[in-house]
Amino acid sequence: MVTISMEIQLLFAGMIFLIGLVGFLVRRNVIFMLLSIEIMLNSAGLAFVIAGSHWMQTDGQVMFIFILTVSAAEVSVGLALILQMYNHFRTLDADSISKLRDKKVI
């Protein structure tokens, strides 16, 4: 099996997470934002499995299954919302959907 130390593996998972984070912060298109969220979730699951294999227990894999479930539910609802958003605002720009901003009333 793999003999690389766990820290390097976890570091690798962290780097993927950071890539996903940067993608989320940079992109304006909501599809890409959702994509970056998927990358981040995946890297989290990766970290769990790595740790689980290190401890030689099933908990890591079980956790990954739950993460997978959550990700699936979230993606389906998110994409439905994106469809609604597109129908309503005619754009996929996340920055233009700012109706919840603080309006100056004072």
Binding site: L18, E38, Q61, R90
Partner: protein
């Protein structure tokens, strides 16, 4: 084994990077699928074959396909020039700096750990199944409820309420009149 790990890891990293920096949505998604596959390899060599399979089937096979379907419905390819306008180098600066800061912290945290290299064993699906349905039974049930909520939510949110004016007749960014 180590070399497989290193190759798979680098493929995952590079394809993730390509995914987020791409201008075309479909290309980005395809890169992401590539990344998922390489991660699945890593799962396999870490002694989690069941998860490797699940990753390919569910993640790459279902979720990403769902993404691709939605992108095709929305017909995003036409909006590529807008993406060019948005993705200036200036916008990359701050997130990259923050990410590097976080990376530094991560490295620093990792250095504190000392762990022993142990030989990994393969954890069979049977073991995972037993663990799921005995120890984590409640979580499984809740996950089922979550999935049901997801289905109902997606159905309800995806409903079209009004007659939609054909999108070629309405400029992007404008609201549909009457909505």
């Amino acid at each position: 084994m180590n070399t497989i790990f290193i190759i798979a890891a680098s493929i995952a990293l590079i394809s993730s990077l390509m995914s987020i920096t791409n201008r075309n949505a479909i290309h980005a998604l395809l890169y992401l699928i590539l990344s998922l596959l390489s991660i699945s390899i890593i799962f396999y060599i870490s002694g989690a074959p069941f998860i490797a399979a699940l990753e390919v089937i569910v993640y790459a096979g279902a979720i990403m396909v769902l993404f691709i379907f939605v992108v095709m419905i929305l017909n995003i390819g036409l909006a590529e020039e807008i993406e060019n306008r948005w993705l200036t180098p200036g916008t990359w600066a701050v997130p990259v700096i923050l990410a590097c800061a976080l990376l530094a912290l991560l490295v620093y945290a990792m250095r504190q750990m000392q762990s022993v290299n142990t030989t990994a064993v393969v954890i069979t699906p049977k073991q995972v199944g037993i663990s799921l349905f005995t120890t984590y039974l409640i979580a499984v049930e809740i996950a089922a409820v979550l999935l049901m909520a997801g289905i109902i939510g997606a159905y309800h949110l995806g409903k079209q309420r009004k007659k939609v004016v054909h999108r070629f007749l309405v400029k992007p960014g404008k609201e549909i009149p009457g909505k």
